[in-house]
């Protein structure tokens, strides 16, 4: 762990037309750290992580990832890094989505090697060997030639995680990875994510699984109304919330 954060977000704003969703967010993520973003619906959690890897272009503010500026402000002028820089950054911090978003016309194996072969320009046979190893690790070694349609939700999400890992990322973004799953499948995905954390992978997770956040997170950020209201280690956030907004939220999810 170095002193320089892997990812740093400063005064980030995002508006959709007249709707001001992010109102100045500051966030630092250190290498090897597991950060959870929690908060009420519509508070800006998903918008924040979609802005971090530029699935949405922020309106103002600063994002630095692994020493590269993705966007910054120069006086009143908002600068966004060239597409090439953004693409490279994205390939190092892939996202796992709520609805999996596997490429429906490609097999499990093809889904996983797409990024390494096309974006990272790795040799196809190496990418395949890598993908087969990742599939075994997530417990889907026998599903390489299946199509996404033939898998359960939990299996799809594990393929999506393998697809992200195949990029050999520096950070993985999770956007509510268990929200679309049947309750009995949630535990399997959480176990997989826990496995990544144990390996020292840097994770930023938007989640409603509070008990999971409490067990796994190094830092929990509570986001409401477009700002980070409170940040801290999980025990303090869940047991001794300082702001009334957070204590209200904790009460509402416990009852």
């Amino acid at each position: 762990m170095t002193d320089e954060p892997l990812l740093s977000v400063r005064a980030l704003h995002k508006s959709f037309g007249a709707l001001h969703v992010l109102k100045g967010v500051d966030l630092s993520v250190r290498s090897g750290e597991v950060s959870f973003l929690i908060g009420p619906s519509g508070g800006g959690k998903s918008t924040l992580i979609r802005c971090i890897n530029f699935l949405e272009t922020p309106s103002r503010g600063e994002i630095t990832f692994d020493g590269r500026s993705l966007c910054h402000e120069d006086g009143a002028v908002f600068h966004v890094a060239p597409e090439r820089v953004l693409r490279e950054a994205r390939s190092e911090m892939p996202m796992v989505f709520q609805h999996f978003n596997l490429f429906t016309h490609r097999t499990v194996l093809e889904n996983i090697i797409e990024g390494p072969v096309l974006v990272k320009r790795r040799r196809r046979d190496e990418a395949i060997a890598d993908a087969e190893r990742l599939l075994r690790e997530v417990g889907l070694g026998d599903k390489a030639d299946f199509y996404p349609e033939q898998l359960s939700g939990g299996q799809k999400q594990r393929v999506a995680i393998a697809r992200a890992l195949a990029m050999r990322p520096k950070l993985i973004l999770f956007d509510e990875p268990t929200s679309a799953l049947d309750p009995e499948l949630v535990a399997g995905i959480l176990d997989t994510i826990r496995g990544l954390a144990d390996l020292g992978m840097t994770l930023v997770v938007v989640s409603h699984e509070m008990s999971f956040a409490r067990k796994l997170a190094d830092v929990v950020h509570f986001i409401a109304d477009g700002t980070i209201v409170e940040s801290g280690p999980p025990d303090r956030i869940f047991d001794n919330p300082e702001s009334p907004r957070l204590s209200g939220f904790i009460r509402s999810i416990l009852h």
């Binding site: 994205r90 996202m95 096309l118 974006v119 697809r163 992200a164 990029m167």
Partner: protein, 238 residues
Amino acid sequence: MYEFFFVLIPRHFPFLLEGALVTLELSFLSMGFGLVLGLATALGRLSGKPWLDWPLKSYVEIWRDVPLIVQLMVIYFTLPTIGITLSGFWAGVLGLSLNLGAYLSEVFRAAIMSIDPGQRAAGMSIGMSKVMIYRRIIFPQAFRIAIPTIGGYFIALLKDSSLVSFISVNELLRNGNIIISNTFRNMEVYMMVAIIYFVLSFTASRLIRYLEHSLTPRYLRRQGRAAKALAPEVAVLP
């Protein structure tokens, strides 16, 4: 009772086949140009640039709202007065291509828009470029959705190419008319013309069905529910 004059068939069939060959040439060229034009128009309109959207939208509207026969007449008879003279054949190809392109652009646009935005987001999230995303993710999925509709327009084009006989291109229908004006046996000749059109269109429709089948992943061909939802034509095949 009408006396069917069978001897006309072997005597004039080769001349009709010559016409059918021209019909096929017209159709295939127009399909090729129409596909490219339709795809380019769809992509232009989806680019979100107003200066591109406006002219393309006007093109699509105008070409869909004017009868094809009028378009062909304008291209063949009116363009020469402003100095653009095309042979009947190429005037036909131009008219049919522009017409097909206008319709196909809407087919492509709808198919591309029907792809879940999550597919694009997933491609972006692993660092794929816009071109890669279109080439590897959007097009293969959109094309499979569009195939049955494109096929329908192809068959319509094959038959609409008969309108080109009005601008003196010696295709199937016009050759038929020429035979009739020499023999006055319209029953036999039109029967032959109709049968040739039917065989051409039917063959085309089977080829499209086969293409659609081969583009459908194997697992979708078997699974009843998914197959019905995604590829209604394929589901009824044994």
